[in-house]
Symmetry: C2
Subunit: 180 residues, 2 copies
Amino acid sequence: MTTETARLNDVNIEAVGALVGAIQQDSKKADTVWKAEVSWKGGFASEAQIREFAPIPSDEPSGLGGTDTAPNPVEQLLGALGNCLVVGYAANATVAGIELTDLRIEVEGDVDLTTFLGLGAGHAGYDSIRVKVHLKSDAGPAAIDELHSAVIASSPVGHTLLRPIPVDIELAAHPLAGEQ
Amino acid sequence: MTTETARLNDVNIEAVGALVGAIQQDSKKADTVWKAEVSWKGGFASEAQIREFAPIPSDEPSGLGGTDTAPNPVEQLLGALGNCLVVGYAANATVAGIELTDLRIEVEGDVDLTTFLGLGAGHAGYDSIRVKVHLKSDAGPAAIDELHSAVIASSPVGHTLLRPIPVDIELAAHPLAGEQ
């Protein structure tokens, strides 16, 4: 249908196509497991190790008791959402033959600290998250609207936030046993 | 009640106490807004800028069409959860007078790529997330169980995942207008 090359938007759409083909042959290939390992560095500082990459540092602002050396976890969550939406726009634009010339995404959200600080029971997380997408393209408005809808319908981090996800948090073993 | 100093677990619990006092005087001080700004770098690569910190790089593995230079967004989400839980354990342990000697958190989750890849409508996000907390402390099992419960009851990122959050994603302006 389209005439884009593998270089449209610098996206390797052929690799995506190969994965799609593999999943069409064997639906189990769609099942993926992702991991992070987080190490405490004292105070409210920590690092998230993901595969072989440089760890993602974390801290809290000084007003929240941290040493303010890195983005805090709720900020990292917003970054993950924006980074995920970028992949969605780049992938879906490329499939549709739309060239993006610029893409910048602003993400913000509101947290009421009452529950986190132990001042009351309730919801400790984001009450709402707002995303503003700035994109540049010569594609027409109908194509851009279709692109936007496709991204919202398929965003892994977006859907993880929009829907309740079972999160099972357990202590690995009795800490008195010197569990490492 | 307890005799810990401000240095227990290297946590500046006095700063947290000052914030708690300020919120008890004026509940509006519990309302916080957090932000990230994400810039596309071509292909599936991007960076999340948070305040003045070094940006958090993002990419996808080559099998998913990326250039595999950084953790991908769904991995970043798991890192944010683990980093958030660290703050929860460190803060609540310190308030309870519990010394933590080590803390390491493994996070993993399952994503079915079917929806992300456009092979079907449905849930594109995590189906489930599992967290294993390895902590070392001389505190007794009852105190550790209480600590664990307090963390789960008050985790901002944990609650954001466990509950459906309104996420409003909009295009900033018509892209044909050359919106920057």
